[in-house]
């Protein structure tokens, strides 16, 4: 295999942080090269430099042995380099075809107008090549996350890409969608495209990768063929220390009921009934769009229910706003922390205290000293990697951002905490820390609900798992009885078909 792409001696400094330090990585034609590392290790920075979105301080980019200039995303595309980001860069209001051909719309032969017929024809062909049939006239905003990703890939391929980089592609995908993505990746590599694959989920890397490079604190620690490493050794390389287990082994004792939901219907939700006890972690499994987030938002007062009741410690509540829910002791760590959680313009400390400012008042004014002290305590307790609580939260990596949100809810001293995809896009080390914290919360008597698309995580952590499909609860499994297969069967209802 010849080196298709070579990043040589890449350096990038942020004020006070050395994001990348003499990083050299090679990618061969037809290869899937995985990049792993903890949050803040520098993986995203590397990808952004490759795509021209960030300027490097030093270093060279060589394609087929020749030095190339990549100063902007346009330059990158011209060199055949495209990146599929975690949060897609599509225009939601435009149609699928318009997105695929954005900036290179075909023009009619006779008139200076866009040739929509050929645009849709080509877009359809492009998608079919990826084994996907999507109506190209639909607005992108109406598509599922998986479909949007495929549109992104089609968009990249429509400009004859030789090097395709994925930044956490599985974050928004279900297991089945992921398999489809792998099939696409294999087809691309067979055509000689070089794939750079960044992910936190090590299982994926062993399934799809050819080589793996571990980055830690901005440096390359190791590059080796995937067959020569195993999960454990990889984790050790990433965190630079020994990790015993993937999940903390803490026994929980379930006590009295704290939350009960009766016959809730709203939107797609139909007759939802369940109860949550103090000292347990209750898992919610299901495909994207099964209604798990919707039920969480109703309990939290972010959306309105049509019928049904919610009881907190036996007393009926009907929160009409998140504020009301917080006041009675319910918290929700939303999915998509960047869009629905953080205020990126604000500092770390300010993000932490945002929901608990009522307790930080001195007369009419904020007690900033106490605020900073509290925030520092959480930064310390949760091992949030930040120079200071006055640092802008923008400069933090994904896992640390998630911990900031977590700190926000710890500060509210909620009695019921709902975690919606808390570990999406987070590295192994930070994941483990979040698991430990959730266990600790349950131990302290908090009722914890965890919504996740990561089945091993649900199985490893939850005492009970409720499975949803199409707005209904299709089953409830105890920890000991649950398996991935059973959950998938309930989540897709394929089991029903087989058993009936």
């Amino acid at each position: 295999m010849s080196a298709l792409l070579r990043l040589e001696g890449i350096c990038k400094h942020y004020p006070g942080v050395r994001a990348l330090d003499e990083v050299t990585v090679e990618l061969c034609s037809g290869e899937v090269h995985c990049i792993v590392g903890e949050n803040g290790a520098g993986k995203s920075t590397l990808i952004k430099i490759l795509s021209g979105a960030l300027h490097r301080d030093r270093g060279e980019i060589l394609i087929n042995g020749a030095r190339v200039t990549i100063d902007s995303p346009t330059d990158a595309l011209r060199q055949g380099v495209a990146v599929i980001y975690q949060d897609f860069k599509l225009v939601p209001e435009l149609s699928v075809a318009e997105n695929i051909f954005l900036g290179k719309e075909p023009i009619q032969e006779t008139m200076p107008f866009i040739d929509y017929a050929s645009m849709h024809r080509n877009a359809r062909a492009q998608l079919l090549q990826l084994g996907e049939e999507i109506d190209t006239t639909l607005a992108v905003s109406t598509l599922s996350a998986a479909q949007q990703q495929i549109v992104e890939i089609a968009k990249a391929l429509s400009q004859r890409v030789r090097i395709l980089a994925f930044d956490e592609p599985s974050a928004a995908l279900t297991e089945r969608e992921l398999l489809k993505l792998f099939a696409i990746i294999r087809r691309l590599t067979s055509e000689g495209v070089g794939i750079m694959y960044i992910s936190h989920r090590l299982d994926e890397i062993f399934e799809i990768g050819d080589r793996v490079t571990v980055i830690r604190d901005g440096r390359v620690v190791n590059t080796s063929p995937i067959i020569t490493v195993n999960k454990k050794s990889l984790i050790q390389l990433m965190v630079g220390r020994k990790l015993e287990d993937e999940f903390p082994n803490v026994a929980l004792t379930r006590s009295e009921e704290i939350l009960r939901v009766e016959n809730i219907s709203a939107g797609i939700l139909r007759n939802i009934n369940f109860s949550l006890h103090r000292g347990e972690i209750l898992g919610f499994a299901g495909l994207v769009g099964a209604g798990r987030t919707e039920i969480a938002r109703i309990i939290f007062g972010a959306d309105v229910k049509e019928t049904g009741s919610i009881f907190l410690r036996g007393k009926e509540i009907s929160p009409r706003s998140p504020r009301e829910a917080i006041d009675v002791g319910i918290g929700l760590l939303t999915e998509n922390r960047n869009r629905l959680g953080l205020i990126t313009e604000m500092k770390v400390g300010e993000n932490i205290s945002l929901s608990s400012l009522n307790g930080l008042l001195k007369g009419p004014f904020l007690d900033k000293v106490k605020e900073v002290q509290t925030a520092r305590r959480f930064v310390h307790q949760l091992h949030i990697k930040t120079p200071d609580v006055n640092e802008s939260v923008e400069n933090l990596s994904g896992g640390n951002r998630q911990k900031v949100i977590l700190a926000r809810w710890l500060a509210t001293k909620s009695k019921v905490l709902i975690f919606d995809e808390p570990t999406a896009g987070i590295d192994v080390g930070a994941k483990y820390e979040i698991y430990v914290l959730m266990k600790k919360l349950a131990q302290d008597g908090v009722g914890v609900i965890m919504i996740s698309s990561d089945l091993p995580e649900l199985l490893g952590l939850c005492d009970r798992i409720i499975v949803m499909h199409d707005g209904r609860i299709t089953g409830e499994l105890d920890r000991d009885a649950a398996t991935q297969e059973k959950i998938m069967a309930l989540a897709t209802l394929e089991g029903d078909v087989r058993w009936s």
Partner: protein
């Protein structure tokens, strides 16, 4: 791709001081060319002149921090002015009519702002359109109410509000200082201020963090309204009459001051101290150009250029 070292240093130095630098350059240049510029009397004069827009700009900062905008301020200045002055014309003792005029004037501002806020929240009208509508409504109402004629013949005591001095400092200047002091406290030292930034940074995330975002939005427009009306009253006192054509295009001057002061139109970023500097920068510029007897056409071009350059330096800081 790799910036040369010296140009990076230059841009970071410019960025760090941004508006302060522009202001300094301005002051030095004007002092060089006009002997009357750097005199105590002229400094007080400038402070008095810019107090009108500066007070509104303080309120506008709140609105823009929530990624909103208020275009109605200029018209509201005129409307408040004519209503407050017509209260003064009522045949009741000055002891009653004077405070009544101020209270009525300020109430107009609060109500107008709260109404704009309700349009933005409850009816989901974009701030630009909601306040654009209010702008033409108030301007029209001011003309309608006065029949196009100014309201004049006011008790001379009223003009003391603008021409009077306390400790040698013009009253509007003192009011400006108080407004900015209070604005700073509210924005940086209260829960409400924090919420303003949060709503501007990410409205949905703020709501999910338990902030009553609608209440915050209605409040910022009400604050902007009441400060605008305060300015309207002071301006009426300065010209000792209620002019239906007062405050023309003030909205642009005010927004310029806020933006030059480093507040982002997309919300969540900015400081009230920056706005004060922005208002001072533009006020001093206008004053200096007038002192130098620069042609009015040229003045417009110069003001535009200075706004551009200042914002550019501010942007280079963020990179």
């Amino acid at each position: 791709m790799v910036m040369s070292n010296s140009s990076r240093t230059l841009s970071s130095v410019l960025g760090k001081f941004g508006i302060g630098m522009t202001l300094l350059v301005e002051v030095i240049l004007f002092s060089q060319f006009s002997a009357y510029f750097f005199t105590a009397e002229n400094i007080l004069n400038v402070s008095l002149q810019l107090s009108i827009t500066a007070i509104i700009a303080a309120g506008m900062t709140f609105v823009i921090l929530t990624s909103g905008i208020d275009l109605s301020v200029g018209a509201l200045v005129a409307f408040t002015g004519v209503i407050a002055t017509s209260v003064l014309k009522l045949s009741i003792p000055l002891l009653i009519s004077f405070p009544l005029a101020i209270v009525v004037g300020l109430l107009i501002g609060v109500c107008s702002g709260a109404f704009a806020g309700v349009c933005v929240t409850r009816f989901s009208i974009t701030p630009f359109i909601a306040t654009l509508a209010l702008m033409t409504i108030f301007r029209g109402a001011a003309y309608m109410y006065t029949d196009g004629r100014p309201i004049w013949g006011l008790p001379p005591e009223f003009s003391l509000l603008a021409s009077g001095r306390l400790f040698g400092i013009p009253i509007p200047t003192l009011i400006t200082i108080c407004v900015y002091g209070a604005g700073y406290l509210v924005l940086h030292w209260t829960r409400f201020g924090r919420y303003v930034y949060a709503v501007g940074g990410n409205r949905e995330a703020a709501r999910l963090a338990g902030i009553n975002t609608n209440r915050v939005l209605v409040s910022v427009y009400a604050i902007c309204g009441v400060l605008t009306s305060l300015s309207g009253i002071l301006l009426a006192a300065r010209v000792n009459s209620g002019q239906p054509n007062a405050g023309l295009m003030y909205e642009l001057d005010v927004i310029a001051a806020v933006v030059v002061g480093g507040t982002s139109l997309s919300g969540g970023r900015g400081t009230i101290v920056g706005t004060l500097l922005g208002a001072v920068l533009i006020g001093v510029l206008r004053n200096g150009l007038n002192l130098l007897n620069v042609n009015s056409y040229v003045q417009q071009v110069v003001v535009g250029l200075v706004i551009l350059v200042t914002v550019m330096m501010d942007q280079s800081k963020k990179k």
